[in-house]
């Protein structure tokens, strides 16, 4: 495969006709920790190319929900479907599923003993068994896109928080997932670095990557989201377009939550 073909593939904006077809469907999901419910009865549908931002107070279960979506948490009841296939059976091979679901964590979790490039290539080479040359080209294209190509031989400890998080995003993107999950990925960053990471997510949103974003960045949520899912106490309380949610929230709980961010 030539560089330009890889470039085209990675930069391709997905065709609009795919829009609106369900990609991830969750029905009646229940998750408990030692009998204490964390998610009570969650039903949620994420369509292809949709950007869904999950908001809610701490401990409302939004991170848990994200972690259930790629099998990091066992669920007690309910069903998760990806592209129509049920994920939550005993036979589910999460290794295959997780290649289609990229995840980025608040604490970066780059592998500290590997350079940026080694971090990024581990999945493509060892999991997907791709050719080194092709994977390296893909990594280069993506690194250049987020302005980190010069840092490819650096170790994580030599990077700023923002750079680490951008590298972690690329590590997930290089697998060419169908959907990306972001778990409060700017929460541990210094304010001046938040922007560079949000910009990368905004750009992804524009290339119509399907994304589920857990965040406390309200301005970003307004700008990037197609839909806001507001959670409280393990339930989805509101599910509406950002215009509606921020301007006239339907529930008292959402109003109280939004008021916290007013000065």
């Amino acid at each position: 495969m030539t560089d330009t073909m890889i470039l085209d593939r990675l930069n391709a904006v997905k065709p609009a006709e795919e829009r609106g077809a369900p990609l991830l469907e969750i029905s009646h999901l229940r998750k408990e920790y030692d009998g204490v419910p964390a998610l009570r009865d969650i039903s949620l549908r994420i369509d292809k190319q949709e950007v869904v931002v999950v908001l809610g107070p701490s401990g409302c279960g939004k991170s848990t929900l994200l972690r259930c979506m790629n099998g990091l948490e066992r669920i007690q009841a309910g069903e998760i479907l990806l592209d129509g296939g049920v994920l939550t059976t005993e036979k589910t091979d999460w290794r295959l599923i997780r290649q289609k679901i990229g995840m980025v964590f608040q604490s970066y979790e780059l592998f500290p003993h590997m350079t940026v490039l080694e971090n990024i290539l581990l999945g493509p080479l060892k999991v997907q068994k791709r050719k080194r040359k092709e994977a390296e080209t893909a990594a280069r294209v993506l690194l250049e896109r987020v302005g980190l190509y010069e840092k490819r031989t650096a170790f994580p400890r030599q990077l700023s928080g923002g750079q680490k998080q951008r590298a972690a995003i690329i590590r997930a993107l290089v697998m060419e997932p169908e959907i990306m999950l972001f778990d409060e990925i700017t929460a541990a960053l210094d304010p001046e670095m938040v922007r560079e990471v949000l910009d990368v997510m905004l750009e992804l949103a524009r290339s119509r990557m399907t994304m589920v974003i857990v965040t406390h960045e309200m301005q970003f949520a307004k700008a990037a989201a197609d839909r806001i899912v507001f959670m409280d106490e393990g339930e989805v309380v509101e599910d509406s377009p950002p215009g509606d949610f921020f301007v006239k929230p339907k529930t008292e709980r959402a109003r109280r939550f939004l008021n916290i961010f007013q000065f």
Binding site: W94, R98, M103, Y108, E109, F111, P112, H113, L122
Partner: protein, 223 residues
């Protein structure tokens, strides 16, 4: 007055000491090698809570750590032949050292593995790594760096433990010194050479481990 060191004695028996040092090194080398293999295996089955194997490893570790090497060697050398299993002295000593060292190495590796944050494992899982890939590419390299000081200490410990292998009829440093004292009554010289023999083996080893440890620390793991 004053004690005259018998240099002729020292010169005469130096080759024997060197030979014994060779044996000690050889025992230590194989003992450490098999200890590392046993230790790594036990640490991984315990870390991943693999049923049955994990409990077996637990029983082994307790048994190995809470009995002295002398007793373990007695059992191998005098006990097992009664049920028809015989070893030569060298195999017996290496087996004993590996049995003892395996549990110490297992605990060192376990400490290293447990120092790895849950997040590292989860991020490895979320790019689709299998369990064995996770161990090989993510957990072990980081665990080794953390475990290095303990592993080094265990090597030194095992080398010193070779001093009891005379009970399985091996002519190590300790038994050589005892024999020479018995034969010639040159207690001071024989013991001086004994101490020197161990120091010549152990000081460079400690130095090497200290160096390696510093290098690993400078490699500066941790995000």
């Amino acid at each position: 007055m004053g004690y005259m060191v018998d240099t002729a004695f020292i010169v005469k028996f130096t080759p024997l000491y060197i030979e014994a040092m060779g044996l000690v090194l050889e025992l230590c080398f194989f003992g450490v090698l098999f200890s590392l293999i046993i230790g790594l295996f036990c640490a991984i089955v315990r870390y991943y809570r693999i049923p049955v194997l994990r409990s077996a490893a637990g029983v082994y570790i307790e048994l190995s750590r809470n009995t002295p090497l002398v007793i373990q060697l007695f059992f191998l050398y005098f006990g097992l032949p009664r049920v028809g299993i015989t070893f030569d002295s060298f195999t017996c000593a290496v087996t004993g050292l590996s049995f003892l060292g395996g549990s110490y190495m297992a605990e060192a590796f376990r400490g290293g593995l447990e120092a790895i944050g849950r997040g590292q494992i989860e991020s490895g899982l979320s790019i689709g790594l299998s369990r064995s890939q996770l161990v090989r590419y993510v957990a072990l390299p980081q665990a080794l760096a953390v475990a290095a000081p303990a592993l080094g200490a265990n090597v030194i410990f095992l080398l010193k433990e070779t001093s009891v292998v005379s009970i399985v009829a091996l002519a190590d440093l300790m038994s050589l010194a005892k024999d020479l004292i018995g034969l010639y009554y040159k207690t001071n010289e024989a013991l001086l050479m004994l101490v020197a023999g161990y120091l010549i083996l152990l000081l460079p080893l400690s130095g090497l481990f200290r160096f390696a440890e510093r290098r690993l620390r400078y490699a500066g793991f941790g995000n």
